[in-house]
């Protein structure tokens, strides 16, 4: 389904939904996040696939988020994620610490339609002690002692990301970032903003097909040019490091963040893009 505006796409995200988000260096749906803030979405639960950055910090700062599961939260070279840290310290968000392959594995379990999947490692990490939803069993195929962690399937309400292109049938090209395919397969529905709609069937091109997520998983697509700004979109455009530094500085305190929000999010998009 193609939607006329990003606002229409944001309208499909209900309060309280569990949103799977790609990391900053992948296909971050920044413009969609700004639309969610303008729509005053509340009680969102975010899942970093497998880590989180600017988009998550922005949504947390704007008060849209009550819960976050991730394996790491930072602004990369721009430093730590200030609004995340402030919200965590103030107890405004609940944090579930994970480790990258565990998040991939929980999504793979949902993709496969099984209730759990095992993963090596983790044993001895305090993460395990703080994840009552993760189970430690003995490998049923081992003759002796061989503890292994079982992770529950995780099916987000929505997978949201920003891709370079979709076709008229709603197939979406993500290239080699195939963790997005697993994310879309695992999620109940996927909402995607794209740079452009192409007048060709991506499934018909053998070069593009492997990097294409079939429309079977995509509920809606809307165009958002430079929709990953101020982050990069793989194969399309680079990040805006100066802006990220500006954000990191502004977001150090509540007032600075409010000013940033006013200027780059709540103000109309034309301005924001300047």
């Amino acid at each position: 389904m193609h939607l006329p505006t990003l606002e229409a796409l944001a309208a499909l995200v209900p309060d309280g939904a569990l949103l799977a988000l790609p990391p900053d260096n992948s296909t971050p749906p920044c413009e969609l996040a700004r639309a969610l803030i303008r729509a005053e979405r509340r009680d969102l639960r975010l899942l970093g696939v497998p880590v989180s950055g600017y988009t998550t910090d922005l949504l947390i700062g704007a008060g849209c988020v009550t819960e976050l599961e991730s394996s790491g939260v930072s602004l990369g070279e721009a430093g730590s994620a200030p609004r995340f840290l402030a919200a965590l310290a103030a107890g405004r968000i609940t944090l579930k610490d994970a480790t990258c392959p565990a998040i991939h594995t929980m999504l793979q379990a949902a993709e496969k339609g099984v209730p759990f999947m095992p993963l090596r490692g983790i044993i001895g990490s305090d993460i395990l002690a703080h994840r009552p939803d993760w189970k430690l069993i003995n490998n049923p195929f081992a003759s002796g002692n061989d503890p292994i962690v079982l992770l529950p399937a995780l099916s987000p309400d929505l997978a949201v990301f920003h891709a370079s292109m979709a076709d008229l049938d709603g197939n979406v090209f993500v290239g080699r970032r195939l963790e997005l395919a697993t994310m879309a397969h695992a999620a109940k529905r996927s909402l995607v903003s794209v740079e452009r709609i192409v007048d060709a069937n991506l499934l018909e091109d053998e070069r593009l097909a492997a990097g294409t997520i079939s429309s079977a998983y995509i509920e809606a697509v809307a165009i958002a040019e430079r929709g990953a700004w101020p982050l990069a979109l793989l194969g399309e455009y680079g990040a805006d490091p100066l802006h990220l530094t500006e954000y990191a500085r502004a977001a150090r305190n509540e007032d600075g963040f409010r000013t940033y929000l006013q200027r780059y999010v709540l103000a109309d998009r034309a301005q924001a893009a300047e």
Binding site: S71, G72, C100, H104, Q108, I123, D126, H130, P147
Partner: protein, 250 residues
């Protein structure tokens, strides 16, 4: 004049080639590990056969099955060596990337564990790297364990830390004793200054050599071809250390 980063890169390169350690045919390097990346590029540039997979390489990123592929490769036993750091690192080589104080970081919250809780156990060799060498970072016991330095018998684990490289020295890790031993001291430091700056206890032989400085050949390689190859993935680092990122990036 030799920069600290160049000294550490050369030291890491020597550790990677350690003939007594399992072979390092395939090394993966994370986004935050610029100096380890420099060490790996140095080996490649000087003709050592090693497959180098940079997690955050933009063009030609080696993980064509998505970011999960790094962890799958490690699960398969195909990643021979990985680098890990820590907000805290303790005397048993436990690392803490989560935070200090109570869970999940009541005093200082760090970014998070990333893949450490998996990679540390699945990789035959891990080299711990942290530039800051202070009692704040190198503690007797980490407040929170992101990934354990050693594991109980029966727990599937391919390897442990080989060494810990800091801005002041190199520690070797003895997995049987679960204890570090001072291995070499960077120029300008002494056994005493190391002891003072280290929060955990460790073994210290009577004679500790100085960390060897990079050779002229290594310096040429680092400042030339290594810099050029790192520019795309670590522009900030290149600018800071070699001050040439901007022009060349442009």
């Amino acid at each position: 004049m030799i920069r600290d980063e160049e000294l550490m890169a050369a030291a890491l390169a020597r550790l990677i080639l350690d003939p007594n350690a399992p072979p390092a045919r395939h090394i993966a390097v994370g986004a935050a590990s610029a100096i380890p990346a420099a060490a790996c590029w140095l080996l490649k540039v000087l003709g050592h056969p090693v497959r180098l997979s940079l997690l955050h390489k933009h063009s030609g990123n080696p993980f064509t099955s998505g970011t999960r592929e790094l962890f799958d490769l490690a699960g398969q036993g195909r990643i021979d060596l990985f680098f890990l750091g820590g907000g805290q690192i303790d005397g048993q080589a436990n690392i803490n990337l989560i935070g200090t104080g109570d869970w999940p970081g009541s005093k200082v919250r760090f970014p998070g564990s990333f893949g450490s809780a998996f990679m540390y156990l699945m990789t035959p060799r891990t080299i711990l790297f942290r530039e800051e060498h202070s009692p704040r970072v190198l503690v007797p016991h980490v407040d929170i364990v992101s990934a354990p330095g050693i594991s109980a018998p029966g727990v599937f684990r391919r390897g442990t830390a080989q060494a810990l490289v800091t801005g002041k020295c190199i520690f070797r890790f003895d997995r049987d004793k679960a204890r570090f031993q001072l291995s070499s001291i960077h120029p300008g430091e002494t056994a005493e200054s190391i002891r003072l700056a280290t929060g955990f206890d460790y073994d210290c032989p009577a004679e500790v050599p100085e960390t060897a400085s990079p050779s002229a050949e290594q310096l040429l390689a680092l400042r030339g071809p290594v810099h050029d190859r790192m520019l795309e993935t670590y522009p900030e680092f290149c600018r800071r250390v070699w001050g040439r990122a901007k022009e060349q990036a442009a």
